[in-house]
Amino acid sequence: MVRIDDVSKVYRTGGEQVRALDGVTLEVGAGEFTAVQGPSGCGKTTLLLAVGGLLEPDHGRVLVDDEDVYALPLERRAQFRALKIGFVFQQFHLVPYLSVRDNVLAPTLALPCAGVDAHARVDALLEKFKLTSRAAHTPGELSTGERQRVALARAMLHEPRVILADEPTGNLDEINAATVLGALADFAEDGGTVLLVTHDSAAASEADRIIRIDGGRLVDDRDEGSRQDGQAAG
């Protein structure tokens, strides 16, 4: 589903060069819930943005659903993102003046929902994330947990193939974090691909697979078995 092939990315600030990704090669299949861990500044978010088609690598290729993301022209790439990729961020990034319903509907600005009434789909998502009663509220009137659920609902509107989540539980209490992680796990179970960047070991433990990045390099890659072993050992 997601294939990262020898991807490198260097940031140039002033005279300095920072190698955020250094020859990373990785493949994440459909239905796989993968956590990405590593110290701050190791390249986790860069990896996420590169997979999301938002940050073109200096070297290597990124394939999502067998499509070379950066071979697409900008407009097509934007459509591809709308259709195939959902984003969830630690800061939620909801549009402050739109209601919950309209925030969930926001992806239809890019593309209409294919073969389904967008409003019916929104209703279903609001129901799923227990937000029906908050549909008319704006983000400022919601709790942090509710905001993140709105962000999740928005990410899932177009039934993407991949969800990229960057510290989605970073601002949440345990209950809300469990809800979000449960939703991501459900998405993976339904055949989607989840790439979760997190510092939180508890959150990572919900994943089928954990990879570690350090200094822009992939230094560890453990599969479901390893996670379950770890849980058993813990």
Binding site: A78, F87, F89, Q90, P96, Y97, L98, D102, L109, L111
Partner: protein, 427 residues
């Protein structure tokens, strides 16, 4: 979700920013529309004032005409019918005619109904000696007005009473020199006469003239049945029509001529002319003043309008740049979820266009009212409706959103080109 809905929601959320932009567009459009309306109103007001002054002039001229008729009635005669051989130079020099005509000429003129002549008064005038007073005096014999055939003439009463036999009337200076006053008895050429009236000072030859009955004068002068002039009062003509009167008179009395006896006709004509000129000058001065005022207003507007337009454009651009900065995170996430740069661009332009339309409508209303008020043709006044220019309305409604969109173009492009990865990494 549509770009329109997104824009409306954003406008409702950030009302102040939108209102400030709207206000600047409103000012720019208001200044433009106000300037054009003010100049149109100024022209309209000028037309109204000139028409008003012209009407006043006509009214005053009519009133003046009437005044002059009344003044001339009190002061004397208009034209003098003389013998054809009378030298005008001699008349001027001596102050009285020296050629004589039969007295019945006056009646002939009256009977022939000369339309332009009124109030015919035959007279006999000479300088005669007044032995009792040891001096000469200008003596005028009058018999009063010759009745004119009433079919064509007004039926107003005669305007000059005759002097009765045994009476005399004196000019003010003459009476003073003689030391006599009304009611006194004087002796003239051996006959006692009652001083019936001493005229008030007129500042003319009349002040040194004495009047007796025509019969008495004819007797003293040895001119029985003769006169040397026929005065006509309230001649219905102007100074340049004397020739036509003479033509009419000569058709009846071939050996007569018409002399403009006093300068009153000319004075009247001149006064009318000068009054008309004064009014014309006043109108011209008013128009000149208003043309100057218009030019000042036009010059002021020609500076103010572009300044307001550029100012509004700059202000809208500034507000939109601030708006782009404020919505940086929002733009980042919208781009991330697949909204194209073109749609982001159009969202900002749509907002600017809405700002322009609302500001344009508000500016149009404010401009029309303000401009009309400044040009003294306020709403409800006569001609106000003509100040509303449909072409200007259309131009303002197209121009205002265009101005706002042009001013927002760069900020909108910046928003569209914003790198979502940078924004998301900043968080």
């Amino acid at each position: 979700m549509s770009v329109f809905r997104l824009s409306i929601q954003e406008i409702v959320h950030r009302k102040l920013s939108f209102m400030l932009g709207l206000l600047s567009v409103m000012i720019a459009v208001g200044v433009l529309v106000g300037a054009v309306t003010m100049l149109s109103g100024h022209d309209l007001r000028t037309e109204q004032l000139v028409a008003q002054k012209e009407a006043q002039t006509r009214e005053e001229m009519a009133r003046m005409e009437d005044d002059y008729r009344r003044i001339m009635k009190d002061m004397g005669y208009n034209v003098l019918v003389l013998h054809g051989d009378q030298s005008l130079e001699e008349l001027q020099r001596l102050g009285y005619p020296t050629h004589y005509m039969p007295e019945d000429y006056a009646q002939r003129l009256a009977d022939e109904k000369v339309a332009s002549l009124n109030h015919l008064l035959p007279l006999l005038q000479e300088r005669v000696s007044w032995p009792e007073m040891e001096r000469e005096v200008l003596l005028t014999g009058v018999r009063g007005q010759v009745p004119i055939y009433e079919g064509m003439k007004s039926k107003r009463p005669p305007i000059m009473d005759p002097v009765e036999d045994g009476e005399i009337k004196l000019g003010s200076d003459l009476a003073e020199e003689l030391g006599v006053s009304e009611g006194d008895m004087v002796t003239m050429r051996g006959r006692d006469l009652l001083v019936r009236e001493v005229y008030e000072r007129r500042g003319t030859q009349d002040d040194v003239t004495s009047w007796v009955s025509l019969r008495q004068a004819q007797e003293w002068m040895g001119r029985e049945g003769q006169i040397n002039g026929i005065l006509a009062l309230e001649c219905i003509c102007s100074a340049d029509e004397i020739g036509s009167i003479e033509e009419h008179v000569r058709a009846i009395i071939p050996d007569a001529q018409v002399y403009e006896f006093s300068s009153l006709i000319v004075a009247r004509g001149l006064a009318r002319q000068r009054a008309a000129e004064a009014h014309e000058t006043a109108i011209e001065q008013e128009m000149h003043y208003r043309a100057g005022l218009r030019e000042e207003r036009r010059a002021f507007a020609s500076v103010l309008v572009p300044v307001a337009a550029v100012g509004a454009g700059a202000w809208v651009m500034f507000l939109m740049l601030a708006n782009v900065r404020e919505r940086r995170a929002e733009i980042g996430i919208l781009r991330a979820i697949g909204v194209s740069g073109r749609k982001i661009h159009s969202a900002f332009l749509l907002k600017a266009a809405l700002m322009g339309i609302a500001g344009g409508v508000a500016g149009l209303i404010a401009g029309v009212i303000g401009g009309a008020w400044l040009s003294e043709v306020p709403p409800g006044a006569e001609g106000f409706a003509t100040l509303i220019d449909v072409r200007l309305l259309v131009a303002a409604l197209i121009g205002a959103p265009l101005l706002a969109a042009v001013a927002s173009w760069l900020p909108a492009r910046n928003a569209a080109r914003q790198d979502p990865a940078l924004v998301l990494q900043e968080e």
